[in-house]
C-alpha cells in the first residue's frame, strides 16, 4: 500500500508534441492518498486509461514523474511496482481452470501452496465462483470471465494499489451492483488504494471517497461526490454529474446580481469583476416552477420518472431542465422559473468562480 504521487506528469503518444493539443494527458500534479478509494470519471477518450496505464507501468509517460511513496518508479516496469489492474474486457487464461487462473499471480510470485489455497478460496467466495473452481475458464460466460479477472486483481494482499479500468462494462446490471458493493466493502476491509476508472457517474459516485473528473486529458476537478454536485469546478462537471445535469445561462455578473437579457437574478454571494464568458449554473433540483415571477420558460416536455417529474423547457432559447415534485400540476402555458440564490454557481470561461468572501460578509 502506498501513496502515489504524479509530479508534473504529462503524456504525448507522438514523439515531438508541439502544442497542448498533442498531449493525451496535459500536465498534472496529483497525489493519490494511501488507502483511499478514487473514481476516475470522464467521457470516452479523455485520457483515463492512459493515466491508469502510466500508474501501473504499462506505459511510460513522456514527461514528469510517478512516485510510489517517495520512490521514483517512472520508468520501473510493471512487475517492479506490485500493482493489480483489472481491464475493461475479460482477460482469462483459457487453458487454465478457474482455480489456476486465480492462483496464477500468486504462483508467479512464489507464494507457498497453503497460502495460495486459502487465498484462492477466499476470493472464489467473494466473486461467488466456489462451485466452478475446477472448470476450465474457456467456456464460461463473459461476465463469469470478468469476475475471474476481478478475482485475479484482488487475490494479492500486499499490492500498492488496485486499478480498475471500467471493469463492470460487460457485467449485467444486477451483478454490477453486487460486485460494486463487494469492492467497496473490500476496500473497507483491506484498505488498498483503489482507482476505479469509469464513464458512469453513478458507478463513480457510489464507489469512491473522492472522484477525479477528467476532460480532454486534463483533471478538471477532484472532490467528494457531494462537492462535485454542490460546487462543480467546471461547467463540464456541472453538466456531467447529475441527472439531468446543471443548466447554464450566459449572464453579466455585477456584484451580487446576475443580469440576463435585462432581467436581474439575485445571487447568494458577492462577486468581483469577471472577465471572459460569464455564465451562471443552476441544478434542476434548485429551480422552482411557478406562474407569477422569475424568468419566462416555455415548457416543451414533461417526463415523469416516478419519484419526481423532469420538466424540459426553454429559457431565453436555451434548453433547460427542472425537477418538479411529483404532485405538482404543470400546465402547458408559459410559466416562470425562479432559482434558489444560494445554489447558483458562477463560471467564467467555464471555470468556477468563488464568491468574494469579504464583501459578501460585509
Amino acid at each position: 500500500m502506498a501513496k502515489i504521487t504524479l509530479s508534473k506528469l504529462a503524456h504525448s503518444y507522438g514523439a515531438n508534441p508541439q502544442n497542448e493539443a498533442d498531449f493525451a494527458l496535459k500536465e498534472m500534479d496529483h497525489v493519490w492518498e494511501d488507502r483511499q478509494a478514487y473514481a476516475l470519471l470522464g467521457p470516452s477518450g479523455c485520457g483515463k486509461t492512459t493515466l491508469l496505464n502510466i500508474i501501473s507501468g504499462l506505459l511510460a509517460p513522456s514527461h514528469g514523474q510517478v512516485l510510489f511513496d517517495d520512490k521514483d518508479v517512472t520508468h520501473a516496469p510493471t512487475t517492479a511496482r506490485n500493482i493489480a489492474q483489472v481491464f475493461q474486457f475479460p482477460v482469462v487464461y483459457d487453458t487454465m481452470s478457474v482455480r489456476d487462473n486465480l492462483a496464477f499471480p500468486l504462483r508467479n510470485r512464489g507464494m507457498d501452496a497453503a497460502y495460495i489455497q486459502s487465498r484462492v478460496a477466499r476470493i472464489a467466495e467473494l466473486i461467488g465462483m466456489e462451485d466452478v473452481l475446477a472448470q476450465k475458464a474457456q467456456g464460461l460466460s463473459a461476465d463469469a470471465k470478468q469476475k475471474i479477472s476481478l478475482g485475479r486483481g484482488l487475490v494479492r494482499e500486499d499490492v500498492n494499489a488496485i486499478l480498475f479500468d471500467e471493469p463492470l462494462t460487460v457485467i449485467d446490471p444486477a451483478m454490477k451492483w453486487a460486485l460494486r458493493t463487494q469492492l467497496k466493502s473490500l476496500h473497507g476491509e483491506f484498505g488498498h488504494t483503489m482507482i476505479y476508472v469509469t464513464h458512469d457517474q453513478t458507478e463513480a459516485l457510489t464507489f469512491a471517497d473522492k472522484v477525479v473528473v477528467m476532460l480532454e486529458g486534463r483533471v478538471v476537478q477532484i472532490g467528494t461526490p457531494e462537492a462535485l454536485f454542490e460546487a462543480p469546478g467546471h461547467t463540464f462537471v456541472g453538466h456531467f454529474i447529475g441527472s439531468p445535469g446543471m443548466n447554464f445561462l450566459d449572464a453579466t455578473i455585477e456584484g451580487q446580481q446576475a443580469i440576463i437579457d435585462g432581467q436581474m437574478i439575485a445571487l447568494g454571494a458577492h462577486y468581483g469583476a469577471l472577465s471572459g464568458r460569464t455564465q451562471i449554473g443552476i441544478r434542476p433540483e434548485f429551480i422552482r416552477l411557478n406562474k407569477k415571477e422569475g424568468l419566462p420558460a416555455i415548457i416543451s416536455r414533461v417526463e415523469d420518472v416516478g419519484r419526481h417529474k423532469i420538466v424540459r423547457a426553454q429559457v431565453f432559447g436555451h434548453a433547460f431542465n427542472c425537477i418538479a415534485p411529483e404532485g405538482m400540476e404543470i400546465s402547458a402555458d408559459v410559466m416562470y422559473v425562479t432559482f434558489d440564490p444560494a445554489r447558483i454557481s458562477v463560471f467564467a470561461d467555464d471555470w468556477r468562480v468563488e464568491p468574494n468572501v469579504k464583501k459578501a460578509a460585509a
Binding site: N53, S56, G57, L58, P77, T78, T79, I83, A84, Q85, F87, Q88, F89, V91, Y93, D94, T95, M96, F104, P105, N108, R109, Q135, K136, Q138, G139, S149, R152, G153
Partner: protein, 290 residues
Amino acid sequence: MQKTVNQKAWFLVLPVFLLVAFSAVIPLMTVVNYSVQDTFGNNQFFWVGLEWFSELLHSERLHAALGRQIVFSSIILAIEVPLGVFIALNMPQKGLWASVCLVLMALPLLIPWNVVGTIWQIFGRVDIGLLGHTLAALGIDYNYTQDPLDAWVTVIVMDVWHWTSLVALLAYAGLQSIPQAYYQAAKIDQASRWSVFWFIELPKMQGVLMIAILIRFMDSFMIYTEPFVVTGGGPGNATTFLSIDLVKMALGQFDLGPAAAFSLMYFLTVMLVSWVFYTVMTNLDKKAGL
C-alpha cells in the same frame, strides 16, 4: 405453407453437376475401373477383382515408399511448425518492417514447385552450385546424387525453405489477433515469457496452427515435383516417396491396374488421416470449451 414443385430447377443445378462430373467423378471412376482390371495393350481388359489391392497391400516396395513418406512428413512437420511459430513470435508487430517481413516471407510461397526444385538442384550441385561447391571447398563430402543421407537433407531443407513461411504467416495472423489486454494482464500478473507463450499465445494460435499442420501434412504427404526435380527419387530409391513411386508405376512401367489401385489407396489414406486429425483436434477444442 405449400411447397412449390418446379422441375425446371434441375436445369439450374445441371452446370455444376456436369462440371463436377467431368472434373472429378468421371476421372475418379476411370481410375476405379482400371484398378479392378488388367490390360495387355490393344485396349484389351480382363477383370481381376481386388487382386491388385491385395497384391499392393503386401508389396514391400509400397511399404518402403510409405515408410519414407511417413518419415518425411513427420520430419518436416517437426521442423516447420516450431520454426514457423518461432519466426512469427519474432516478427515485428507493426510498422514498415512488419510489411517488409511479410513480403519476404510470402516470396517462397509464390515460386512454382518445379522452379523450387530446379533452384535447389542447381544450388546443391558440387560442380557449379553455390551450396554444393562451398561445402566441397570446406572439405565436407556432400553429394545429393550419390549419398542417400545428403539427398534426404537436401529435400528436407528445400521443403523447409519453401513452406515454413506458410506456417509462420498463419501463426503471425493468429498472434496479431490477440488483444493487447492479454499481454498487459500477464505483465500485471508477473507472468514469465514462457508463461505468456504457453498460456496466452499458444492457446490463441491453436486454430490457425491446426490448419497449418493439416495443410502441411496433406501437402507433404503428396509431395512430388520438388524431390522429383532434385533427386528423381534417388539415389536408388532413397527419396522415392509415394507420388514418385506412383508415377514410376503408372507411366514408367505402364502398370495401369496396380497404379490405379495404388492411387485409390493413396487418396483414401490422405483423406482418412486428415479426417482423423481434424476430428481429434476439433474434439480437443470442444473438450476445452466445456
